[in-house]
Every structure is written in C-alpha cells, then in structure tokens.
C-alpha cells in the first residue's frame, strides 16, 4: 500500500556523467515494491519545492529493506538530491504506480530496451525475470560513452548491447538500429526511455507483445490531480502516476 516514508541514505555515488546512484534504507518492509514502480521524492523542506520528483526504483534488497535509485542531475531537484550525504533523510511516497505485470505473463525470453534515465527500472525487472528462469536480452542506449552505466550489471543477467548516439561506445545510433542489426529472439519486450524512443520502439516492434513505461511531469503522483495523463486508444485517458507508468504498448497513444 502506498505510504509516506522517511528513507535514509546508505550510499551515494556517481556512476556516470551527471548520473548518481543512491541506496535508501526503509524502516519497514519493502517487499511490496515491484519493478516498474517509482518513488515520489520531496526535495528539501519548507516551501522551496512544492512538487515532488518521480524517480524509478532500480533495485530492491528485500532482506535489508533497501531501495536503489539511479538518476541524472538535470535540474534543481535532482541536483539537490545528488548533493545529499550518507545518513541524510529522504521524504518519499512509495511505491507509486503499477509494475510490469510479469507474474501474469508466460514467456521464455524477454527483450529489454532502455534509453538514458529509462534504463534504471529495467534493471530490477531484469533481475526478477532471470529469477523466474526467463532469458533476458538488453539493448541500452546512451548519449555517449561518458553516460553509459550498468553495463556489467546487466551483463551478469544476460546479453547486453550498448548503443551511443555518437558511436563513442558500443554500436552507433539508436536502440532501434541495434535491434535491426542484432535481431534477437524474444516473446515479450519491455521498454523505458524518452517518448521519441518509445515511439520508434513500439512501431518497430508493432507485431510483438510489449510493455512501455512513460514519463510525464507530475503533480500529486497518486492519481488525484490529472497532471500526468496520456490518451488511450479506447478514446479515454490513463493517469501515468497511478494506472502507469507501465502500460501495454498498444494501450496508449504516444504524441
């Protein structure tokens, strides 16, 4: 059940250019946190930042009640977060949103396609899939060599292909270019990244079963304010913070 928790920072490190990893400890069980969900983080105290920042859960350590987040400093909130210290408290709502529906899916192999800060949620997903005996292939896209992170971590779980926009590391081009070259075998795909990438992924893999995770600016983060909606193909809409961020690829209309 969604709750407000004061998490304490156990570890904070820079893992790539402008990219930080924070391990957060909870006082209560985090067993209910599933891959694809996010935490909604308050920045500082008082009224300086009224809107919380949504950050995906990149990993969960159930035994030690730890959550890992990986984020890029792109603005005021994420920069402030990156300057916290070990031992500092982080006020977060969690777990937010719906997870990748892996319990209900039968498959032998999965393809994970991530772009930039869309890569983190795919890591915990990959771990859960591998634990279920599913073969995982990951195609991960980054701006350039300096921004690449978690290659080895994904390699420990399956085949990994890295793409960079400028070719400074791995394949040159977009994740969909790599897909065309590698043509991996899979039953179901899972993708998270910028909307432009998701559009090209969903059209490239149009005849495949897949799930995508969307990003949008959020107000409440709990389904109450209608800030984060996306049109759905049934003529209605979905709230990304509550009914998403994960959706069946064919359910929502990307603009």
């Amino acid at each position: 059940m969604i709750r407000k928790d004061m998490l304490s920072i156990k570890k904070l490190e820079t893992i790539a250019k402008d990219t930080f990893l924070i391990v957060l400890a909870s006082n209560i069980s985090v067993d209910d946190v599933a891959p694809g969900q996010f935490i909604h983080i308050r920045i500082g105290q008082g009224n300086a930042h009224l809107l919380r920042r949504p950050i995906s859960i990149a990993d969960v350590d159930q035994a030690n009640q730890l959550l890992t987040i990986i984020f890029k400093s792109v603005g005021e909130g994420t920069t402030q977060l990156s300057k916290q210290k070990v031992g500092d408290q982080v006020d977060a709502l969690l777990p937010c949103g719906t997870a990748y529906p892996i319990a209900g899916l039968t498959m032998h192999s999965a393809l994970l396609i991530g772009g930039g800060i869309g890569v983190p949620p795919l890591y915990y997903l990959a771990k859960q899939l591998v634990a279920k005996g599913i073969k995982v292939t990951a195609i991960l896209g980054f701006q350039n060599k300096e921004h690449v992170f978690y290659e080895q971590e994904f390699q420990a779980l399956g085949d990994v292909y890295i793409a960079t926009n400028d070719g400074s590391y791995g394949y040159q081009g977009f994740v969909t270019d790599v897909y065309q070259q590698v043509q991996p075998d899979f039953d179901c795909y899972f993708s998270c990244g910028p909307t432009a990438m998701l559009k090209s992924v969903t059209s490239t893999l149009e005849d495949k079963q897949g799930y995508i995770s969307l990003e949008e600016r959020m107000g409440c983060g709990v389904g109450a304010c209608f800030a984060c909606v996306v049109p759905s193909h049934d003529g209605g809409y979905r709230k990304i913070c509550q009914q998403g961020p994960v959706f069946p690829a064919k359910e929502v209309a990307l603009s």
Binding site: E216, G219, C220, G223, V229
Partner: protein
C-alpha cells in the same frame, strides 16, 4: 477546543477541507489517512460530458508556487455521480461538488444533477477556471455574467451554492457583490492566478497550454487581501484558500474573514497536510488567544473587538 463551524448546508467538525482539483475524488488520499478527519471534501470539477483537458505538460514548479493547466479534465457529471461519489460518501464527511461548464446551460445541467445527488452537501460554482478556452473564467471576471450564471444555477440547485471567485480581476468586491445579489449562499476564494513559465533551453513556455493557473504559498497574500476586502463589504460565508500550508496560515485566513478554509497545492507536497493542520489548529488558536475557531473569524478587521490582552 471547539473547531466546529456551521455554514449554509454544511455542519463542519473542523474548518479544513481539501480544495477542488487537488484531491481528485478523494479515494486516492484514503490510502494515507481516514477521510473522516476532514471538515469536508471538495471534489474535482464536473462538466456535462467527459473532458480530456489540455495537452501535457500540465504542471510546472515556480518559486514557492506551481502552475497548472489541467483544463477541467473529468469523467463527466453522470460518471462522477455513479462511480466517484459513492465510495467517498461512505465517510461521514460532507462532500462539496465543483460545478464547471462552457455555457450557462451546461452549468445549470451539472448543478441540477449534482444538487439532486443525495450525498452532495453543497455546490462550489467554478466561474474562475483560467485553463479552458471558453467558459470558466469569463463568467468570473464580468459582474453581469457572474450574476446571471449564479442566479440560474441557484434556481436549479437544491443545495447551497458557494461561488468560487477568480482573482484575475481588478475589483474583487464588485464581483462578490454581484454573486451575493444573485443569491449565492457563500463564496469560495480564491482560484488560481494566470501565469506563465518559459524554459530557457527550449525558449518555449513549459506548459503545453502556455498559460496556467498559479497556486501555492506565492499567492497567499493576494488571497488574504481579497478575502479581507470582501469581508469589509459583505456579510456572506467565505471558504478561503490560496497557499495554505500550516495552521498559522489558517488563522490568517480566519482573521481576514474566512469562515472555513481549503488546502490545495500543499496536498502534493505532503499528502498528510490536511490532518496535520487540523491537529495543530487548537494549539495555534490558543497561542494567539482564541478559545474557539468561531472566535477568530474576522478578527483581523479594525471594527472587530480584539482579544489582545496586555497581561
């Protein structure tokens, strides 16, 4: 301490309620706390048909505030009555429904439907939404239109009507007088102020709608000033709102002349804000020399007797 307050159609255990649009249809926040703690709940605006609202991005953070351009997205009045109201009605907390529209006829129809819904205690007539192309704010900025829509909605509604005023006017008192003359049972003020934020990198407004409504602590002095001015001119119940984040803010609204208050944006920062304010209110009132909530209402006005002791 007695925090109760009686207003037309509303007998409130305390004066604190979540503001329209910032609390959905309530159930989202029932996961955080028992909604019976609240004085009342004002639900998201209803229009005749389902509305999708504006393109995204719809929100932006500003200095001590935020902008929103949701565009009155809602599932339509009948869906709200059938699906959204019943679960909320299980709580012993009055529900105030927010009525919106593009035409006077739409306002009438929505008000008639919601007013005849047993679980709805009162209506908040939203003539002040800055985020839709037609309707909404033009009714709230022209005294004649404000009069007309209030009168017509009052005629359709079987429950009391609180008219929600727009701060985007030169003279708030003229509008307040117009809706009071049209039979409004109370006022609700203020809605958001129009604003804009431009992204330096893209050189474009952040909101897809370009313009949005400014809310949060940054607008509180404007809300206080407007409530104060209206209270000087009229003796009509006022639900005050605009930037409330703590019990001291509530007291300031009461002093200005509000009879009850609503909390909007602060729910996003802290989902527990309403119960936290309610818990803190007795001590805050006592600290400033009040024996009850009722005691504090309007005491910021010179002609009101003050309780200041020099002991």
């Amino acid at each position: 301490m007695n925090l109760s307050v009686s207003l037309p159609g509303l007998s409130l255990k305390n004066p604190v309620m979540p503001a329209s649009g910032c609390f959905g249809f309530g159930m989202e926040y029932s996961k955080f706390y028992d909604l019976e703690q609240l004085g009342a709940i004002i639900i998201k605006a209803a229009t005749e048909e389902m509305r999708y609202g504006n393109a995204t991005p719809r929100v932006a953070e500003t200095t001590v505030g935020m902008l929103n351009a949701i565009g009155l997205q809602n599932p339509g009045v009948l869906n709200i009555i059938e699906k959204e109201v019943p679960p909320l009605a299980a709580y012993n907390t009055p529900i105030i429904a927010n009525v919106a529209g593009s035409t006077i006829e739409e306002y009438e129809l929505v008000a008639e439907k919601l007013g005849n819904t047993e679980q709805i205690a009162a209506l908040e007539l939203n003539i002040s939404c800055p985020n839709v192309k037609e309707g909404g704010v033009q009714f709230g900025t022209d005294p004649d239109l404000a009069y007309e829509v209030t009168k017509r909605v009052k005629a359709q509604s079987s429950v009391p009507v609180y008219v929600k005023l727009s701060p985007n006017v030169t003279d708030i008192v003229t509008i307040a007088k117009a809706v009071a003359a049209a039979g409004a049972d109370g006022l609700s003020m203020i809605n958001t102020l129009t604003g804009m934020q431009i992204n330096l990198q893209s050189r474009r407004p952040i909101l897809a709608n370009q313009v949005g409504g400014l809310s949060g602590p940054t607008i509180k002095p404007i809300a206080i000033r407007m409530i104060y001015q209206v209270r000087e001119a009229l003796d009509i119940p006022i639900i005050g709102m605009g930037g409330i984040t703590c019990a001291e803010d509530v007291l300031e609204f009461l002093l200005a002349g509000a009879n009850a208050v609503a909390v909007g944006t602060a729910n996003f920062t802290n989902p527990f804000i309403c119960p936290e304010i309610i818990t803190a209110l007795p001590d805050t009132l006592a600290k400033y020399g009040f024996n009850s909530l009722q005691d504090a209402i309007g005491k910021g006005h010179a002609h009101e007797t003050t309780n200041l002791s020099r002991a």
